[in-house]
Symmetry: C2
Subunit: 243 residues, 2 copies
């Protein structure tokens, strides 16, 4: 049995929005960087999988934020894996400030894909359940909920550009939610209380592709769907903010 591991981050000037508090996308970046560092340090990360031409891919994520920390805050992220299903592993995160105040938590579900066939493989192939990486501690919140088709009330075209892409020349994970949240009136983030965000990462988007960003915004809730040029859905999200 493993134990939780802690990582430290600082909220830098480029991480905050016009309210001078960390953007949701910056909090997601901290979380995903933690996942990468932790998996690599325990020898079941991208580095290890790439040797077999496999890679981790984020499939679903739930994120709850109680408050967004101000610029220059020091944050501690604790992470642990508590489940290996046939195709998905569950990695958890809790986020707190230096003084111990908890401000966010997340549950992520990851698949391993074969980089040639781009399909998910059975996790048992890597013997992850038996490698001592599981931590016997429940997830800090519920997994991402199901999100169905939406009837968009607002649509915008978006071209995947240089700043969005990773080493595969695919739009990186955080760019989906950044592009989606840029559709909202900024009043959403002026004085919000708690945030809950559920996300499904369904397909990859490529450099130069013209995406349709569809949204259905009602009061303090928003559904998002990102469609590729071939009309297939690449990403879905549901945002719920309390004021």
């Amino acid at each position: 049995m493993a134990t939780k591991t802690d990582y430290l981050f600082r909220i830098e000037p480029q991480d905050v929005d016009f309210t001078q508090r960390a953007k949701i996308s910056s909090i997601m970046t901290m979380i995903l960087n933690t996942a990468g560092l932790d998996a690599d340090s325990k020898n079941f990360g991208i580095e290890y999988l790439n040797k077999n031409n496999h890679s981790w891919v984020l499939s679903r994520m739930s994120l709850e934020i109680d408050f967004r920390p101000p610029q220059y805050s020091m944050c501690k992220i604790s992470t642990w894996v508590n489940e290996y299903e046939r195709l998905l592993s569950t990695r958890n995160f809790t986020l707190e400030l230096e003084n111990g105040d908890s401000f966010a938590r997340a549950v992520t579900q990851w698949a391993i894909i074969d980089l040639n066939s781009r399909t998910a493989i059975n996790l048992s192939q890597h013997g992850l359940s038996e490698n001592g990486t599981l931590v016997n501690e429940p997830s800090p919140t519920t997994k991402a909920i199901r999100i169905g088709n939406i009837t968009p009330t607002k649509t915008k075209k978006y071209e995947v550009v240089y700043s969005d892409i990773d080493f595969n020349k695919h739009a990186n994970t955080v760019s989906y939610i950044k592009i989606a949240l840029d559709m909202l009136p900024i009043a959403f983030f002026e004085n919000e209380n708690k945030i809950r965000l559920d996300m499904h990462f369904i397909r990859e988007c490529h450099l130069g592709e013209i995406l349709s960003i569809n949204s259905d915004i009602r009061n303090n809730q928003a559904h998002f769907e990102i469609q590729r040029e071939d009309n297939s859905v690449a990403f879905r999200a549901f945002l719920n903010i309390s004021y």
Copy 2:
């Protein structure tokens, strides 16, 4: 007389492009964060100026990059001010890796504006030449060159969104160059040798404004001009890459 001051940064996963090396915009972010930290630590930064409803504004910047460091590199930025003219002060930067290898340098020119009238004020009003902040050391390269009108060969519309804005709800300094470089074929950044970038920050752009990003790209050079809705020029840049 003051001395140079050093700041440390790490190239994080969100700072690199598809080549896994630091983006130009990330290097600019490190440089501008350094300027803010150094000025605040010596009591002539935004915090001090805001008391008089004044603020520093970046007017021009030259940036030379010999090579872009890979992910997780530790970088040391040294900074010093070596000139106060009537309206512009000159702040310099040299960037090196942990092993002492120099990889970039920059010269920035800053004005102080009155936040009500949005006009530049005479620097002597704050007695900066006499406050012991000058360092008697030449700039590490030439200041930004003059950049005239361009005849664009490619134009793109761009709406200023939530992710681009600072606390004033203006597009932040780095967003201009990010938007401009997103116009280039990514081959520009695949195997480049040295980079020289000259930038003029002329006017502010506001949330929701639809900008025209004009470019004239020839071989290994590119001119950029960002125009606001009223056709006034907000930003100009000249990029020169050697291969």
